[in-house]
């Protein structure tokens, strides 16, 4: 009984084909999973950085509210990561329609917005460095941010 239903060559091609299809599926699924998790990681880190910056903004707001006419200088500095999960990101502060911090990466495209609960007017600005300065500008009567 040495006759075989398949020739050796066909058997080999079939084995190779099936293995390749299965393996490709695994790599695609695994790659997708890794990519999803990375985006999730980026989103989480952006959220954390945003919350920390919002916390500092609100802290300066409280300093001003304690006695707006009595504040000459109120500055908080903070170091933030220069990348999140290996991706470069930017932070912007906007006051329309309500004061909000927006943090985003371009590759992959992930964006997070963090609302700010304040009473003192906030300015606008974009942060690109890993050292941030949040301060009260008494001449403009508003809280501003810049790269420290």
């Amino acid at each position: 009984m040495t006759d075989r239903a398949l020739s050796t060559t066909l058997s080999y091609v079939l084995a190779l084909g099936i293995t390749t299809v299965l393996a490709s599926g695994l790599i695609l699924a695994g790659g997708e999973f890794v990519s999803d998790q990375r985006e999730q990681g980026i989103r989480t880190e952006l959220q954390i950085v945003g919350e920390q910056l919002a916390g500092d903004l609100e802290r300066v707001d409280r300093m001003v509210r304690a006695d707006a006419t009595g504040v000459e200088r109120a500055v908080i500095t903070r170091s933030i990561p220069d990348t999140v999960a290996g991706a470069d990101y930017l932070v912007s502060l906007t006051d329309e329609p309500s004061p909000t911090l927006r943090l985003w990466t371009e590759s992959p495209e992930v964006a997070v917005t963090v609302p700010i609960h304040n009473r003192t007017t906030v300015g606008t600005g974009i942060l690109t460095e890993d050292h941030v300065r949040i301060y009260y500008d008494a001449t403009q009567s508003e809280i501003e941010v810049d790269d420290g």
């Binding site: 390749t20 393996a23 890794v34 990375r38 500055v75 999960a85």
Partner: protein, 323 residues
């Protein structure tokens, strides 16, 4: 690669599977690194890094509370000369600032307190509780202070009428009146003993009236704290509402129809510098009513620096200021 072309039974080497397995392993290592970074970031975020030791808002409140106590102390001790009160206030605040600065240094914080300015005033006080609330010379309607602002105004009043009963903010009983001469706004308060207990009636500018009558306690003296808005320690939120803005005149009407004590600090130092003999005894007397030197308010400078926070500000301290 030639060996790939020959497959013998039982000698499959599975190179493709190996390569794929390797790729998947690298992917999952990368995933582990990314997730680890995210977990680390969350961990860092939940640490005390977000809180600030010696928050400037807390430091302001501490400094304000300490200065309030110092003001109370210097205004009730060694008050016979304006310069003594000022020197004492300045020295005590600087001592407090030094102490607080050393304490902050333990936590690696810089904290400095300075006295920027002191506003002198006069403390008008009556301490003989059996005396009527008349002028020194006995006049029943009289002005305690003109064109002034007042703080820490407290009274303990008993009805001295021959017959107790109802009254009103414009009636014939002891009344306190605060008038802004520029606007003509007048706030007035009547204090009297009704059939059951002491009653405080208030009339705001515009004629709105209301009554503060604490639960009867059998005590025929009522303690009124205008700044705190309390009568016999009970909150009466409307008590100080409607008091006109400064400068105003503080006037007593029907001072003979009540007895009691009072204390206030006004932002006019000339009353203590040259007391009107018809109205008050001077700072060296212990008789009532008398006027003594006092500090009305003080402006402090506060500087604070930590590794993340820089704060420079001023604090004005005038506890119990009206309105």
């Amino acid at each position: 690669m030639a060996h790939l072309n020959v497959i013998r039974p039982g000698e499959d080497r599975g190179q493709i599977i190996l390569v794929i397995g390797f790729m998947l392993a690298v992917s999952f290592v990368a995933l582990a690194l990314i997730l680890n970074a995210a977990i680390y970031a969350e961990n860092v975020a939940s640490r005390s890094d977000t809180a600030i030791d010696g928050d400037p808002v807390d430091v302001r409140q501490e400094t304000r509370a300490a200065t309030r106590s110092i003001l109370d102390y210097v205004n009730t001790h060694n008050y016979t000369a304006e310069s003594t009160v000022q020197d004492s206030l300045r020295r005590n605040i600087e001592e407090y600032g030094d102490f607080a600065g050393r304490y902050a240094a333990i936590d690696s914080r810089y904290r400095a307190t300075s006295v920027d300015s002191i506003t002198s005033g006069s403390r008008i006080v009556q301490t003989e509780k059996g005396r009527s609330l008349t002028k020194r010379n006995g006049t029943v309607h009289w002005i305690l202070a003109r064109d002034t602002q007042v703080r820490a105004f407290e009274m303990a009043v008993s009805d001295n009428r021959s017959t107790v009963g109802g009254c009103s903010p414009t009636g014939d009983c002891f009344r306190l009146r605060i008038t802004n001469p520029a606007t003509g706004d007048t706030w007035q308060m009547a204090v009297y003993e009704d059939t059951s207990d002491m009653v405080v009636d208030v009339e705001q500018p515009g004629g709105t009236t209301f009554t503060c009558s604490p639960p009867p306690d059998g005590n025929d003296t009522t303690r009124i704290d205008l700044a705190a808005g309390t009568v016999d320690g009970q909150e009466c939120a409307e008590l100080g509402h409607g008091i006109p803005g400064p400068p105003y005149d503080i006037e007593i009407r029907n001072g003979n129809l009540s007895t009691g004590t009072y204390e206030m600090i006004v932002d006019n130092e000339t009353i203590a510098n040259s007391p009107d003999a018809g109205r008050f005894f001077g700072p060296t007397s212990s008789d009532s009513p008398r006027v003594t030197h006092a500090a009305y308010s003080t402006l402090l400078g506060l500087d604070q620096q930590t590794d993340r926070v820089t704060y420079n500000g001023t604090i004005r301290v005038a506890p119990g200021e009206l309105p």
